[in-house]
């Protein structure tokens, strides 16, 4: 609830980051699949660049350093100095993964492991170095001061070692533009940092300043020249100006250099000169940077000298790289057009607070109920209804359904980002287990509720890891059994009868039923003599505390595996099952509701109240017989279900609606499984119906009610309680304890 404006900006930054990271991944996938075009590379570059920019503003140094180096190498790819190889793309992907980690930990305010970043940066530097040499040589070879000004911008991206060694200190020439002040930066502060770094002297040129009385206050005229000691690294100096580099002319050069100290030159004549040259197609090293520079004078209000190449001043676009070929002046307008196009495309989506959407969904839900009540009301009228009226009612029904569908679609998101994240898991797991895996995804466009996507991430990650770590065999084993060396994990999503079905399939060895059975017996999960079908054995994997991996790897097999997965999927109103064929692989199937706001429920009667039990919690319904029900203690009854005694929970009594049902045979039993995997039998008065219900919270205006998970609104507008099976179990334990006491 902080009102700190910086916090708000942070939130926006992280939102943007996740969008950018998605863009980045999309781009990298396109590159991997050989769909590399200039646009994709540019998109990837832009994404990294934007992340770096934002990270800098928040002082996220690690993020800056990785993205910075990443960007540099990408830049080389962009300018065709570097060929993309599978290894390079793999490195890029790992960098993207790391960026994601860094963003995540920054978001949570955690520290990140710098050593991993350093390793990545070092790897990136390897790609950087060979190409860096000629670039570094260029400024040295060129006596032209203009070329020199351009070159240092590249320098900052290069390894420091490539800088030609020179004696003497550095001369830093810094010409702030008006934008620098407009964005709230302060030259004194920047120079102050240099001073702290050991600046030898600081000089301010005011030669260009007009007389005081005619001084335009918003136009900067001063040029700062700072002499820095020779032992300072250029990177350090540039770092000081990192966040203002687009808003100033900055030169960092060896004092011993032949180039005359810049301040003596006419600064404002100087800038246009640079512009002319930067547009020169002959000036062919790192043209992107030149494009970058091209825009600077356009932003520069002091660039009074008209320049033919200058884009119209009315186009104050940020320096976004549009093309990777050197631009002839004539090509510029076309490029600008392209930019506008891209912008208008981006504007076709809006970012909306989720609460607003939810409110809309709520209202529409009400509209639907209201409409059906209205329709019912007319039906119960005995008076003849005119054709016009019944048509109108029909249209109203159609319209409300359409509105409901459209509004639900707002919350629905394609599952693609989640699948993309999984490919990273496959990559990492494959690497650490020494298995070769390819991930095949299908149905990425399948849409599902945003919240479900978010909460599906953890269980799906676990399942994918499991599939790679325990499902797939090692390459040698695979070859021996006549399979290809590379294992396949297939991730598919599809809409099926109002639900989303996600399958995680591997072509590994399948479930080793013998071993599973042994372990289950060993851990006391099943009786040694128990007759179990194949599918029952497979589903033992979902039992709490079960883990087949002999050694506990750091990936999976911590014994909290599949039961946690099952539970989190159940919490989403979903079901999970496993089919396996020895030698051919296993298929996990998750079935999920389309939205969390709606669930499949069984409408039951308790006393004279209608209540709802989530279908995902019900294993089976039983009509109790006198033979099966046993009175264990005066307050505790059990029912025998296939050789297992299951405690009976009298729901009506536990909720305080009626006394204990004397004869359990008058009721109906719902067999349900609790979070801990225990079974319990809910004793109800009757089952009415099965239908989809809209879930509503009770906490908002009232509070938590033990034994009640939420409420729903029935077609007649009345409220029905949704039972919380675990809560009921706790309630019954409490009553039993108090009875005993």
């Amino acid at each position: 609830m902080s009102s700190d404006p910086l916090d708000e900006i942070r939130i926006v930054f992280f939102q943007e980051c996740s969008e950018l990271l998605e863009e980045l991944e999309d781009g990298l996938y396109a590159m991997r699949d050989g769909e590399e075009t200039d646009d994709t590379v540019n998109a990837v570059f832009r994404a990294v660049h934007s992340i770096k920019g934002g990270a800098g503003a928040f002082g996220l140094d690690l993020l800056v350093s990785v993205s910075h180096q990443f960007e540099t190498v990408l830049d080389k790819v962009r300018s065709d100095q570097l060929e993309t190889t599978p290894e390079l793309i793999d490195l890029f992907m790992r960098c993207a993964d790391k960026l994601q980690d860094l963003v995540q930990s920054a978001k949570n305010g955690q520290d990140s492991d710098a050593s991993v970043c350093d390793a990545l940066v070092a790897e990136l530097l390897r790609y950087d170095a060979p190409a860096a040499a000629p670039v570094a040589a260029a400024p040295a070879a060129s006596g032209d001061e203009v070329a020199f000004q351009v070159a240092p911008l590249d320098f900052s991206f290069d390894d420091e070692d490539d800088t030609p060694a020179a004696s003497g200190g550095w001369t830093v020439t810094f010409t702030p533009h008006a934008e620098l002040y407009q964005r709230g930066n302060d030259c004194c502060h920047l120079v102050g940092i240099l001073k702290d770094m050991g600046a030898v002297s600081v000089r301010v040129e005011t030669d260009n300043s007009p007389a005081w009385d005619s001084l335009p206050v918003e136009t900067p005229f001063m040029v700062w020249t700072v002499e820095m000691p020779g032992d300072t690294s250029e990177d350090d100096i540039r770092e000081v100006f990192e966040f203002v580099e687009d808003d100033c002319d900055l030169k960092v050069e060896r004092a011993a250099s032949d180039t005359p100290a810049a301040p003596q030159a006419d600064e404002f004549g100087f800038t246009p000169t640079q512009l002319d040259l930067s547009d020169d197609p002959e000036d062919d090293f790192v043209p992107q940077k030149l494009d970058l520079d091209l825009d600077l004078p356009a932003d520069e209000p002091t660039a009074a000298t008209p320049v033919e190449a200058s884009p119209p001043a009315a186009e104050p676009t940020p320096p976004v790289q549009v093309d990777d070929k050197p631009k002839a002046p004539a090509a510029k307008p076309a490029a600008a057009e392209k930019k506008t196009e891209a912008k208008s495309e981006a504007a076709s989506t809006i970012r909306v607070d989720l609460n607003r959407v939810d409110r809309l969904i709520n209202l529409i839900g009400e509209l639907v109920i209201n409409q059906s009540m209205l329709a019912q009301g007319f039906q119960s009228l005995d008076a003849p209804v005119s054709q016009q009226l019944s048509d109108g009612l029909g249209d109203l029904r159609q319209l409300t359904r359409d509105i409901q569908d459209s509004v639900m679609a707002i919350r629905a998101q394609p599952i693609k980002p989640l699948f993309r994240r999984m490919s990273r898991i496959v990559r990492e797991t494959g690497e650490s287990t020494g298995k070769q895996v390819q991930l095949v995804t299908e149905g990425e466009a399948t849409e599902i509720d945003k919240t479900i996507i978010e909460r599906l991430s953890a269980p799906l990650t676990h399942m994918i890891r499991n599939a790679v770590d325990q499902g797939l065999e090692l390459p040698e084993t695979r070859l021996d059994s006549g399979k290809t060396e590379v294992g396949t994990v297939r991730l598919t999503a599809v809409h099926r009868s109002g639900r989303v079905v996600i399958e995680v399939a591997d072509d590994g060895a399948g479930v080793n039923r013998k071993k599973v059975r042994e372990i289950a017996v060993e851990k006391g999960l099943v009786d040694i003599d128990a007759e179990l079908s194949d599918s029952e054995i497979d589903n033992l994997l979902f039992m709490p505390g079960f883990s087949t991996a002999k050694a506990v790897s750091n990936l999976s097999g911590r014994g909290v595996g599949m039961d946690v997965v099952k539970r989190s999927i159940q919490a989403l109103g979903g079901r999970v099952s496993l089919e396996s064929e020895p030698g051919k692989g296993s298929v996990f199937t998750i079935s999920l509701p389309l939205t969390l706001a709606v669930m499949d429920g069984m409408i039951v009667r308790i006393d004279d109240q209608l209540m709802v039990v989530s279908l995902s919690e019900i294993i089976e319904t039983i009509r109790p017989t006198a033979a099966a029900v046993h009175q264990l203690t005066p307050t505790q009854r059990v029912i025998l279900v296939r050789g297992e005694y299951v405690p009976i929970i009298d729901v009506g009594f536990e909720l305080g609606f009626r006394p204990r049902l004397e004869d359990a045979n008058n009721g109906v039993i719902l067999l349900s499984e609790t979070e801990a995997g225990d079974r319990s039998a809910l004793l109800l008065d009757g089952i009415i119906d099965q239908r989809q219900v809209v879930i509503k919270g009770l906490e908002e205006n009232y509070g938590e009610v033990p034994g009640v998970a939420a409420v729903t609104i029935l077609g007649d507008g009345n409220i029905a309680l949704i039972l919380d099976v675990d809560g009921l179990l706790r309630l019954s334990e409490d009553t039993r304890l108090s009875d005993a006491a």
Binding site: L655, G656, I719
Partner: protein
């Protein structure tokens, strides 16, 4: 308390909705009244205090209904369709109270509000902000802040 406190000290024309409960006349600051609707049968909530009748659906919002008479220490009402539910929004909680009938909108001079004298029932006292003499009748001003006790929500 915070809702009405400024009114007590400053306002001398506070608009209130007055309603009847048996022989008695009560009123509540109009600013906390969201709407007034006919009585509809609420769904009972398990393990709730006796004065909570249950919950109703108000256009998608689920809100608890309080038997106002019982809350004031009077016998439980057996409401039918002639009864009225006043929906109140206090703080961020919305709830309804069942009363016999809503009678009027009155403008009260809160400067003349008298603290309730020591009464037998502490329940009733805590729910009353004070009383105001009007002509020959007595108007009881409800303290909406404690009407729906916080501990109910927590204990429930």
């Amino acid at each position: 308390m915070t809702e009405l406190e400024p009114n007590i000290s400053s306002a001398n024309n506070v608009k209130c909705i007055s309603f009847d409960l048996g022989e008695h006349e009560f009123c509540v600051d109009i600013m906390v009244v969201k709407e007034i609707r006919g009585w509809s049968k609420p769904t009972p909530l398990p393990h709730s205090p006796a004065f909570v009748c249950g919950a109703i659906n108000l256009r998608g919002t689920v809100l608890p209904i309080i038997d106002f008479a019982m809350r004031m220490g009077m016998p439980q009402t057996e409401p039918d369709a002639s009864y009225v539910t006043i929906i109140l929004e206090v703080g961020n909680k919305v709830f309804g109270i069942v009363v016999d009938a809503v009678s009027d909108i009155v403008t009260l001079d809160f400067d003349t509000l008298q603290r309730p004298p020591e009464l037998e029932s502490s329940v009733e006292e805590s729910c009353l902000l004070g009383i105001i003499a009007r002509d020959d009748s007595m108007m009881r001003v409800i303290n909406t802040d404690v009407l729906f006790p916080r501990q109910v929500a927590e204990a429930a």
